[in-house]
Symmetry: C2
Subunit: 100 residues, 2 copies
């Protein structure tokens, strides 16, 4: 039992907190800008979104792309690692439909 | 997209926080007492464990059973709803094995 136990902790460490789940869900729909994310995640503050995105970028789950427009446009999207987290989100949705 | 979005939030509201995932993982192995849970979840404080168990009990994910020994023995186990959350934990383990 030790190894699988470990891996839940590892997942939670990579994903972080509640906001991360919601950011990943939004980005699974496609590339989004900061303000698009902010509007689509109810209750998230700009600071919480900034630190969540930084954390996920550092964990290589999310990619940040700055486009040199004036003002600069910053887009966020999922890496392959982030894409594959969708299997977890799918199970969460299924569970909520059944039990929520 | 609105409904599935909603259901991730619903799941997170029921499950709560990081500790809940770890409590559910432990209880999936079978019924445990408070102190057994405390020992098996690294870093959890008694207060955090108490409030996590209360939250999960209120959400009908965990059952609490008091056995009238002296001193009283309290056992925690998963409800059917809690059992079925294992499909989410399984996907998290799989993801961590691949990407963690």
């Amino acid at each position: 039992m030790k190894d699988p136990a470990c891996s839940i902790e590892k997942t939670l460490e990579i994903i972080g907190n509640k906001w991360s789940f919601l950011v990943l869900r939004e980005l699974y729909d496609g590339t989004k800008r900061f303000n698009e994310l902010r509007r689509s995640i109810e209750g998230i503050s700009p600071n919480a979104l900034t630190s969540t995105l930084k954390h996920l970028e550092q964990k290589e789950v999310v990619k940040r792309k700055a486009i040199p427009t004036v003002p600069v446009t910053v887009e966020y999207s999922l890496t392959e690692k982030g894409q594959s987290f969708n299997s977890v989100l799918k199970e969460m949705k299924k569970w909520a439909r059944e039990w929520g």
